[in-house]
């Protein structure tokens, strides 16, 4: 068994490296020519969507609680990291990788702390009530940001209701590695004893409590981790788009994340990994090809959502993990039997 696991890990690592090389091939060699920058952007968007959707899947799929406020945690990560990096780059000139790492760290930790503080009282609730609280938190953050703005602390960046002049350091190489690391950590968490406890709580709270699982602690921990990675996504977003507007992080953003989780299959990280890039990049691509279509983004969403819910109510991957090694195994077996015939 450990040997097989080693093999599986090896296959996954190879897949990750191949993905990285493919991206480099696409963007570093200049095959795409003029459009390179545009597609580059799509890839970065797809990747930070993947992180935030996976983090939301921790709550929805594994904890069984809905959050309609992930855009709020994302905005905390975005603003916190942007403020810190702007302050720093006013003082000293740091290489972009260092600035990027600082941004990621600050954004994640800030969102994680807020998630923890919100989680302690909020997780006494569950179901619809918790959902309402998450909406409220996100709205409070958005309203505060759009009404108070950020006081002008430095010269080079324009502060205020919108926040411009953030260093553009979210290079897709860094973002790709960040995404892989984030997903790996979340995967490890789910496979750990805490993850198992989490699933036990989702299935039966009373039985879990009777088995000696600390229900509140496990839930708060998960909520914090989820908010932490939402903050990571926010930091990446801020340092890619360079201008933050509070209205971006509105309710429809939160529901978009939730829609992607459900489409990919709640309780399936791989489902989120597949669904997030497609659903985040697809509407952009459509509006790029047919500009008139841009305002029908949410309509496309609704149609996809309805169609998937009719034909595959549990989402594309429906609570199961897609496994590359298993697929390869199936493939090679098929070939072997075909060869015999």
């Amino acid at each position: 068994m450990p040997k097989k696991m080693k093999k599986n890990y090896l296959i996954c690592i190879i897949a990750v490296i191949v993905g990285f090389l493919l991206l480099s091939l696409l963007f570093d060699t200049g095959i795409l020519g003029k459009k390179s920058a545009y597609f580059n952007g799509l890839v970065v968007i797809g990747m930070f969507y993947t992180i935030i959707v996976c983090s939301l899947n921790l709550l929805t799929g594994y904890m069984g609680e809905f959050s309609l406020g992930h855009a709020g945690f994302m905005s905390i990560g975005a603003y916190a990291s942007a403020i810190v990096t702007t302050l720093i780059s006013d003082q000293v000139k740091l290489p972009s990788i260092v600035l990027y790492l600082i941004a990621i760290l600050v954004g994640s930790v800030a969102a994680g702390i807020i998630g923890f503080l919100v989680g302690i009282p909020a997780l006494r609730l569950s179901g619809d009530y918790l959902c309402i609280v998450t909406v409220a938190v996100a709205e409070i953050v958005r309203v505060v940001l759009s009404n108070f703005g950020i006081p002008a602390i430095t010269g080079s960046a324009t502060f205020g209701k919108s926040f411009a002049g953030i260093a553009k350091v979210s290079d897709y190489h860094y973002v790709y590695i960040t995404m892989v690391v984030c997903i790996f950590i979340m995967y490890c968490y789910i496979r750990s004893r805490y993850g198992r406890a989490l699933i036990a709580i989702r299935e039966d709270r009373i039985a879990a409590a009777a088995s000696g699982i600390n229900v509140t602690k496990t839930k708060v921990l998960t909520f914090t981790i989820s908010a932490f990675f939402a903050g990571t996504a926010g930091a990446i977003y801020a340092h890619y788009i360079t201008t933050l507007v509070p209205t971006y992080f509105n309710f429809s953003k939160s529901s978009e994340f939730l829609a992607i989780v459900i489409l990919g299959g709640s309780g399936s990280l791989t489902g989120s990994i597949v669904a997030a890039p497609i659903l985040s990049a697809l509407p952009q691509l459509i509006s790029y090809v047919v500009p008139a279509f841009a305002s029908y983004r949410m309509l496309i969403y609704a149609i996809i959502l309805v169609v998937v819910m009719i034909f595959k109510p549990t989402g594309l991957f429906g609570g199961r993990e897609f496994s590359l090694p298993k697929l390869l195994e199936k493939f090679t077996k098929k070939k072997a039997t075909e060869g015999k015939e």
Binding site: R193, R196, A197, I199, A200, E203, D204, I206, A207, A208, A209, A210, S211, G212, I213, N214, V215, K217
Partner: protein
């Protein structure tokens, strides 16, 4: 020894448990019988910390259980089999049992394996189906699994909440045999039941609960022949 003294529990303004005192001596099977809504489950939930008491005390071998975290109570040797076969339906049998040993943590793997062997020895049927999802089990098998899961923590006392609920008469008999056997191994049992006849047959002592108050108590065999009890709970 489990000692519940002058326990009062409220749900909002509703006084669900009024001045209830119960004693369970080591090695005994004590049953708590009563109709629907009498407060039997509430008492068990209060003992394991799932419900907060308004006043009174619950002590287990000098430990004040009311002051303990719910997740710590199992470490004192108090296991709880919740009502209605609460198993983790999307987990395999083995995973369900592992959850029962959650309190041992990562370091005590040998202990988990030892307990697992112990449970498998007692319930060979669980061993046969250890990789099957618990949700595919029949009611009786799920109840067996729930008991097995409670045994994983090597308890000194098991609190059982209506183990016979929704089971066929044949399976009810089987579950009560399991209870007797568990008790023979030296584990104290506090049994909450609506099936008064069966419960009184296996128990040493019994308490009759009516709308949150203890109405009668005494030797189980005597209560079985008590006219009031017969009229109210045994239908004869």
């Amino acid at each position: 020894m489990l000692k519940v003294e002058n326990l009062n529990v409220h749900y909002g303004v509703i006084h669900a448990i009024e001045d209830v005192s119960i004693e369970v001596n080591d090695g005994e099977i004590v049953t708590l019988i009563g109709a629907n809504g009498a407060g039997k489950t509430t008492i068990l939930h209060t003992i394991t910390g799932l419900k907060k008491a308004t006043s009174g005390s619950v002590t287990w071998d000098d430990t004040n259980l009311l002051a303990e975290e719910p997740s710590k109570i199992i470490t004192h040797g108090v296991a709880h089999v919740p009502e209605g076969r609460h198993v983790f339906v999307d987990m395999t049998v083995r995973e369900n049992l592992e959850m029962g040993a959650y309190m041992y943590g990562r370091k005590d793997k040998d202990k988990v394996i030892e307990r697992m062997d112990h449970v498998f020895e007692r319930f060979p049927r669980l061993k046969e189906r250890q990789n099957q999802l618990a949700g595919t089990f029949s009611g009786g098998e799920q109840q067996m699994l729930a008991v097995g899961r409670a045994l994983m923590s090597d308890p000194k006392i098991i609190l059982m909440d209506e183990p016979s609920m929704g089971l066929s008469p044949l399976l009810v008999q089987e579950i009560f045999d399991i209870i007797k056997e568990v008790n023979k191994q030296g584990i104290t049992v506090l049994l909450v039941e609506q099936n008064a006849k069966m419960a009184l047959k296996v128990a040493n002592r019994a308490y009759v609960l009516e709308t949150g108050k203890i109405k009668l108590s005494g030797d189980a065999k005597e209560l079985l022949n008590n006219d009031d009890v017969r009229k109210a709970y045994l239908g004869a």
